[in-house]
């Protein structure tokens, strides 16, 4: 079995978000970079667990980005995986990124492709679906549980107001979220091993980006909180009803 996990580099969740060059570019100064939490905690860890159960399984990681992604890929390899592929290109367009992943995946013949349910920077939730479409593979999104028996995957996925259980025969693309696995901390052995694992850099396929970010904006600051005394809850209800018209 061959598994591919898609990894993205994102700013740490505590990062203060700012922009530069007339609000057209993300201000990277002072930003701590991390593996996108959904990719790391759920997609990657579940793939590692599958490999731990099946010694013959091969686990590859892929990212689309510049050389500044290498520390993130090494950190991912420290958790697990046999080798990593970095497509040497940068884009904010999901079709462009998905096309690069699909190109690599076509050659790799993967049975299982995992992504996180979204990245915490562009929040597109779109790479998994696009990769599946480009590869003509089924897609199960927002998975909260993933079990594998032979070539049949049983997956719990989020629906409005609950979950449903579905079955699909490999190959399949799955986007993962909380519930699929538990976060792991890389150990020293993993970190040492990651230094010598192969990290292949491939040049991008010729694909046209279909979207581009024209500019960024920060939310308007709040006017300030109106405090109501704890013994005057009725006043809060009045404000919510008459002023905010929220109830």
């Amino acid at each position: 079995m061959k598994i591919l996990v898609c990894i993205s580099k994102t700013p740490d969740t505590t990062s203060k978000i700012a922009f530069k060059e007339g609000n057209t570019k993300f201000e990277e100064n002072g930003v701590q970079w991390i593996i996108n939490p959904y990719d790391e905690w759920y997609a990657l860890v579940r793939a590692i667990e599958l490999k731990e159960k099946d010694a013959s399984a091969v686990l590859h990681l892929i990212t689309v980005g510049g050389a500044d992604c290498d520390p993130i890929i090494r950190k991912s390899l420290a958790l697990g995986g046999d080798e990593a592929i970095r497509v040497n290109a940068e884009s904010s367009d999901s079709f462009y990124i998905a096309s690069q992943i699909a190109e690599v995946a076509k050659q790799g013949g993967y049975d299982l492709i995992f992504t996180g349910k979204e990245t915490i920077d562009y929040n597109g939730s779109s790479i998994g679906g696009m990769v599946a479409e480009l590869l003509n593979m089924p897609y199960v999104s927002l998975a909260t549980k993933f079990e594998l028996a032979g070539t049949t995957a049983t997956i719990d996925r989020e629906i409005e107001g609950g979950e449903e259980v579905c079955e699909v025969t490999l190959p399949v693309v799955v986007s993962c979220q909380k519930g699929v696995a538990e976060q792991r901390i890389p150990n020293m052995r993993g970190i040492m091993a990651a230094r010598t694992k192969p990290l292949k850099v491939v040049e991008p396929a010729a694909v046209e980006a279909l979207t581009n970010i024209v500019s960024f904006e920060l939310p308007a600051p709040k006017a300030g909180v109106k405090l109501v005394a704890a013994d005057n809850v009725a006043e809060l209800v009045r404000l919510l009803h008459e002023e905010a018209k929220a109830i």
């Binding site: 969740t13 505590t14 897609y139 409005e160 079955e167 699909v168 920060l218 109501v228 704890a230 109830i247």
Partner: protein, 320 residues
């Protein structure tokens, strides 16, 4: 050239997010001077002709019972066929669970640019630009779609439903449907609960509530307000509440009309998931809780005293 709006349904009824998408799609069409049509895959018990009141002239339906069983691949192929049959150039989804699964597939299949989670009508003065939240609600990006066919998924609760006079004609589309490869074997719905992403009002509890046994008052308040319940990450990590209630940067991002945060300090990661809420109320005993800075209204005090009183006051208002 037309706008095609995907109409999502579950349990034989059209979802609320689709009414927002229909209104939005009709407004996009009006702006560009083209027609707007809805697309329904499968069958529902709702009256389709009445969807004209959202501003669409036609509902295209593929009444194949197999489509009542959701498979992203089968849906995407059917939508792609419908786009070709109708000549649509702009396709609108609601960015809910179905939209997240299908919109990217359709976009890739049609080689169409996708703007996911849009919150505004396109600005066509220089290109085709929609605004969407990025960095989990900490900022917005203005995204230009440059392809001939464009796909927009609309963030739930971000576009006001509008109704007028109007009736839609219903047209049966003849599209052959492939057998699904994903088989749904069980559905677990929490009955009687308002789905979090569709809720107008959300009541959310944090670590300040001390334990799962204290959620009764949260549920009472939510029930009185017809609200959904939610929680902060430490609460779901401790299994006090189910994972699907976790809102925040690594949970669900929501934008209800009213968000009531009880016993939640307001860490930056939590704020990222809720800061697009139109009105935020914070109840916390710590006056220094960072959440007060992001709130519209606040009460500093003991949640165990305030929340039951709040429920009583709202009951009074409801009965008035």
């Amino acid at each position: 050239m037309s706008v095609l709006i995907f109409i999502d349904h579950a349990d034989s009824h059209i979802k609320k997010g689709s009414f927002e998408a229909l209104t939005y799609g009709a407004d996009v069409a009006k702006q560009s001077g083209i027609g707007a049509e809805g697309l329904l895959l499968g069958t529902v018990n709702d009256d389709l002709a009445s969807l004209g009141k959202y501003g669409i002239s036609k509902v295209q339906q593929v009444s194949d019972e197999g489509l009542n069983n959701f498979d992203a691949e089968v849906y995407a192929k059917a939508i792609e066929e419908a786009v070709k049959a109708t000549g649509a150039t702009i396709i609108i989804f609601s960015q809910n669970q179905t939209g997240k699964a299908v919109a990217p597939r359709v976009a890739a299949g049609l080689k169409a640019g996708l703007a996911s989670g849009a919150i505004t009508l396109p600005d066509t003065s220089n290109g085709f630009v929609v605004k969407k939240p990025v960095f989990s609600g900490k900022a917005f990006a203005n995204v230009n779609i440059s392809s001939a066919i464009k796909v927009i998924s609309l963030s739930p609760n971000s576009y006001k439903v509008n109704t007028g006079e109007g009736t839609a004609t219903v047209n049966q589309l003849n599209i052959s449907i492939a057998a699904p490869s994903v088989k749904i074997t069980a559905v677990h719905k929490v009955s009687g609960e308002v789905p979090l992403t569709e809720a107008d009002i959300v009541v959310s509890g944090g670590r300040g509530l001390k334990g799962p046994e204290n959620w009764g008052m949260i549920e009472d308040l939510a029930h009185t307000l017809h609200a959904a319940t939610a929680c902060s990450r430490p609460v779901s990590d401790s299994d006090w509440r189910p994972h699907h209630e976790h809102v925040g940067q690594t949970g669900i991002q929501i934008a209800p009309n009213l968000y009531i945060a009880i016993g939640i300090s307001g860490a930056i990661q939590h704020l990222a998931g809720v800061n697009r809420s139109k009105t935020i109320v914070v109840i916390n005993k710590d006056p220094e809780a960072p959440f007060f800075k992001a709130a519209d209204y606040g009460i500093v005090g003991d949640a165990f005293e305030i929340v039951p009183r709040l429920t009583e006051e709202i009951k009074k208002l409801n009965n008035a």
